[in-house]
C-alpha cells in the first residue's frame, strides 16, 4: 500500500512538472510569430482581439445605462455611438460565440446591481446548441480576474478549459498579440461589407444543449433577485427558409422560461425592414447600415415599452 501511494505521488508530481514545463516552453517559443502553444493546440487562442480591448475598456468605467451580453451578434450589433446619440450609455460585453454559460459568469462577476440600469441578453439560437468550448477558452484567456477565469473553467470543466486556464496564468503579462479588425469602443466592432449572395448553411433540426438553457435561467433568476431590469433580444438575421423551423424549435424551449420570469423578448429574426444584400455583412452579422437601423428601432421599442424612460440620461 505504501509503495502504491509513493508511486502515485511521484507519478503525479512528475506529470505536473512535465505539464507545467511544456506549457511554459510552448508559450515562450514562437513559430511564425505565433506562440507555439497556439500552433500546437487548435483551441488555444492568441491573446488580444475584441475580448482584450473590450475588458480593457470595461475596467476604465463600469457604470452604464445598458450592458449587452451575447455572441458576435451582440458585439457586432449594438453600437455605443448610436445609443450615445440617442442619449444612452451602452457597453457591449458580447464576445465571440458567447453562450449563455459564459454570459452567466460575466453577469455574475462583472455586473453589480447599482452599476447598470438595463441588461440586454442577446440570444442567438446556435449558441444554445453548441458545446461552446471556443468561447470558454477565449474568455478564460481574457477576463480581467482570475476568479472569473476559474468560474469559466468550473462552469465547463474540461481538460481544454484547464489547459487554457494554466496558459492564462503563464502569460499574465503578455501584451496583445493582435488587434480586432473594426474595433470601435466599449466592446463594439463594426462591419462595413455588404452581402453579395446569401449562402446560408442548412439548419433544420434544433438540438438543444440543455446546460445552456439552464444557465440562461440562472441569469434571469439572478437579474430578478438583484432587481436589475432585463430584456431578451434576438438580433436580426436574414430569414432563410431552412432556418424558420429551427428558430421555432428554439423558441418552443425559450418562451416558457421568459414567460416564467416575465421577461420581454424582442425577436427580430427575419425582420422585413432589413434587406440581406443591403444591411448584412454576412449571413449572420449586420453591417454598419443595418446596425444603425436595428439600434434606432430597438431603442424606440424599449422606450415605447417603458424600459428606457427613467433610465436614459
Amino acid at each position: 500500500m505504501k509503495r502504491l501511494i509513493r508511486t502515485t505521488t511521484i507519478f503525479i508530481g512528475f506529470t505536473l512538472v512535465f505539464y507545467l514545463l511544456m506549457v511554459y516552453l510552448l508559450n515562450e517559443i514562437s513559430y511564425e510569430n505565433r506562440r507555439a502553444i497556439c500552433v500546437a493546440i487548435p483551441y488555444m487562442p492568441k491573446k488580444g482581439g475584441q475580448e482584450m480591448s473590450m475588458f480593457s475598456d470595461f475596467q476604465k468605467r463600469t457604470n452604464h445605462d445598458i450592458i449587452v451580453l451575447g455572441s458576435s451578434h451582440a458585439y457586432r450589433g449594438y453600437d455605443p455611438d448610436i445609443f450615445d446619440s440617442l442619449g444612452l450609455d451602452l457597453f457591449n460585453m458580447g464576445s465571440s460565440s458567447q453562450h449563455p454559460m459564459a454570459s452567466w459568469v460575466l453577469l455574475n462577476r462583472f455586473i453589480k446591481p447599482g452599476n447598470v440600469k438595463l441588461v440586454i441578453l442577446d440570444v442567438y439560437d446556435r449558441t444554445f446548441e453548441l458545446e461552446g468550448m471556443d468561447c470558454t477558452t477565449r474568455l478564460i484567456q481574457h477576463v480581467p480576474s482570475d476568479a472569473a477565469a476559474f468560474d469559466l473553467f468550473t462552469a465547463e470543466p474540461d481538460l481544454r478549459s484547464f489547459n487554457s486556464f494554466t496558459t492564462r496564468l503563464m502569460i499574465r503579462n503578455l501584451p496583445s498579440e493582435y488587434e480586432a479588425p473594426g474595433y470601435v469602443r466599449d466592446g463594439y466592432c463594426s462591419l462595413t461589407d455588404t452581402l453579395d449572395t446569401l449562402k446560408a448553411e442548412d439548419r433544420s433540426n434544433f438540438i438543444p444543449n440543455t446546460t445552456m438553457f439552464d444557465h440562461l435561467e440562472k441569469s434571469l433568476r439572478w437579474l430578478e433577485m438583484n432587481k436589475i431590469p432585463c430584456v431578451v433580444v434576438s438580433h436580426p438575421q436574414p430569414l432563410v427558409p431552412t432556418w424558420i423551423n429551427y428558430h421555432h424549435e428554439f423558441r418552443r424551449r425559450l418562451d416558457p422560461m421568459l414567460d416564467q420570469y416575465q421577461v420581454k423578448y424582442y425577436d427580430m429574426t427575419g425582420e422585413a425592414w432589413l434587406r440581406a444584400e443591403e444591411h448584412f455583412a454576412d449571413e449572420n452579422h449586420l453591417n454598419q447600415a443595418g446596425v444603425t437601423i436595428f439600434n434606432q428601432r430597438l431603442v424606440g421599442l424599449l422606450r415605447d415599452d417603458g424600459y428606457l424612460q427613467e433610465h436614459g440620461k
Partner: protein
C-alpha cells in the same frame, strides 16, 4: 468468388446501414480475390526482401484507401476525396482547415512529427512490454511525460464513436 464477395459485403454492412460500408467491405473482398489470383502466378513467387516491402507498401495503401469509404459521411464525399487524391493541385488545400497547404512550413513540421512517432513506435511497444530494462524511476518519468502530453495535446472535443451510428 461470389460467396467471398457476399461475405465481405455483409461484413461491411454490419458496420452500418450505408453504401460506404458495403463498398468498404467489397473493396476488401476484391483485395482478397486479387491476392488469391496473384499468389497462384509463377512469376510472382519472389522471395527477395524488396518484394516483401513492395507488398507491405501495397497492402498499407489499399487498406488506407478502403478507410476513405469507411469513414466518409456518404458515397459522394468518398468519391470527392478519391477525386482530390488523384488531382494534382500543388497550391490546393489538402483537407480544408485541418492539414495545411503544400509549401506551408507548418505542414512539413506535422509530417516530421508523424514520422517521429512512427520511428519511436517500436521503442514504445518494447516499453509497454517491459522489454527495455528501464529502472523504476525512468519508467515513471516516461509515463508521466506521456500523461502530460496527453493532457496538453489530447483531442478532448466531442468525437462521436463510429459504431454509435446504429
Amino acid at each position: 468468388m461470389l460467396n467471398l464477395l457476399a461475405v465481405f459485403a455483409v461484413s461491411g454492412l454490419w458496420h452500418g446501414a450505408n453504401w460506404t460500408f458495403i463498398i468498404w467491405g467489397l473493396l476488401h473482398g476484391s483485395y482478397v480475390l486479387g491476392e488469391r489470383y496473384i499468389s497462384k502466378l509463377k512469376s510472382m513467387e519472389i522471395s527477395a526482401a524488396w518484394w516483401k516491402w513492395i507488398k507491405r507498401f501495397l497492402v498499407f495503401h489499399l487498406v488506407v484507401f478502403g478507410w476513405i469509404f469507411f469513414r466518409a459521411n456518404n458515397f459522394e464525399d468518398a468519391l470527392l476525396m478519391v477525386q482530390k487524391i488523384f488531382t494534382w493541385a500543388p497550391q490546393g488545400e489538402l483537407i480544408k482547415g485541418e492539414v495545411g497547404r503544400l509549401g506551408d512550413p507548418g505542414l512539413y513540421w506535422k509530417i516530421v512529427l508523424v514520422l517521429f512517432f512512427i520511428a519511436i513506435d517500436p521503442l514504445m511497444y518494447k516499453f509497454s512490454k517491459n522489454e527495455l530494462n528501464l529502472g523504476y524511476l525512468v519508467k515513471l518519468l516516461v509515463l508521466a511525460f506521456i500523461t502530460a502530453c496527453i493532457i496538453l495535446f489530447g483531442n478532448w472535443g466531442e468525437v462521436s464513436f463510429i459504431y454509435f451510428q446504429f
